[in-house]
């Protein structure tokens, strides 16, 4: 199975794991992106994610298709959340299952790396000083990003 979605509700890792798991798989790999309390040295207390949803869904589907082909992984799911997220909440959840561990691990890493490069989703950080700013990963900042 393979499924990708932009969602505006809580992402449940246990559901993603259950969705990809099957008796012919010996390995499940999961990645979760979560809202952090610091960004570029600034104190953060929340985040708004916005997307070009139609294209984001297409791009996620293309990334999954590439991962399935490249790593021979057939059980692969990704959900990216949009809207207002609180600290610690999950913004993206990826799960892959395979008979063996290497393809499951590789597929999950591929998917998160590609999401960071090419899925049209943007985050507006809310700082504790009351200001807000769009994150632009192409502008060098004091600190590496998640």
């Amino acid at each position: 199975m393979s499924r990708s979605a932009i969602v505006d509700r809580r992402i449940d890792p246990a559901s993603l794991i259950a969705e990809v798991s099957s008796d012919d798989c010996g390995a499940v790999s999961v990645f979760l992106g979560t809202v952090r309390d610091t960004s570029d040295g600034r104190s953060v207390n929340g985040m708004d994610y916005t997307a070009y949803t139609a294209m984001a869904e297409d791009e996620l589907a293309r990334i999954l298709a590439e991962a399935r082909k490249q790593f021979d992984v057939t059980s692969l799911v990704v959900e990216h959340r949009i809207g207002a997220l609180a600290l610690g909440e999950v913004s993206v959840g990826i799960a892959a299952a395979h008979a063996h561990r290497a393809p499951a691990l590789d597929a999950v890493r591929y998917v998160i790396e590609e999401i960071k490069k090419r899925v049209p989703i943007w985050k507006l950080e809310h700082y504790t000083d009351g200001t807000r700013d769009w994150v632009d990963p192409t502008v060098p900042r004091a600190e590496a990003r998640t």
Binding site: T50, A51, H80, V92, P120, I121, W122, W134, D136, P137
Partner: protein, 81 residues
Amino acid sequence: MSVVTVQLFASYADLVGSNTIEVPIRQGDKVSDLLRNMRSLPTASMLPAMPRVAVNRAFASEHTVLRASDEIALIPPVSGG
């Protein structure tokens, strides 16, 4: 000349103060022509000169030829994940 509606998101929408911008194009125009025409619009003055462009929900090169029915969007640097 016809006019296409280009979708804007996130920081680009904030810079223009709108979710869309109308840009004139001619038959046979490419993405590079669209951007050149856009740069002459006062409302687009805050946008970068060479943003990434998506046509029909996929990234397009500057050589992609546009049709009036295309879904066109400018894509600010993405920050999902």
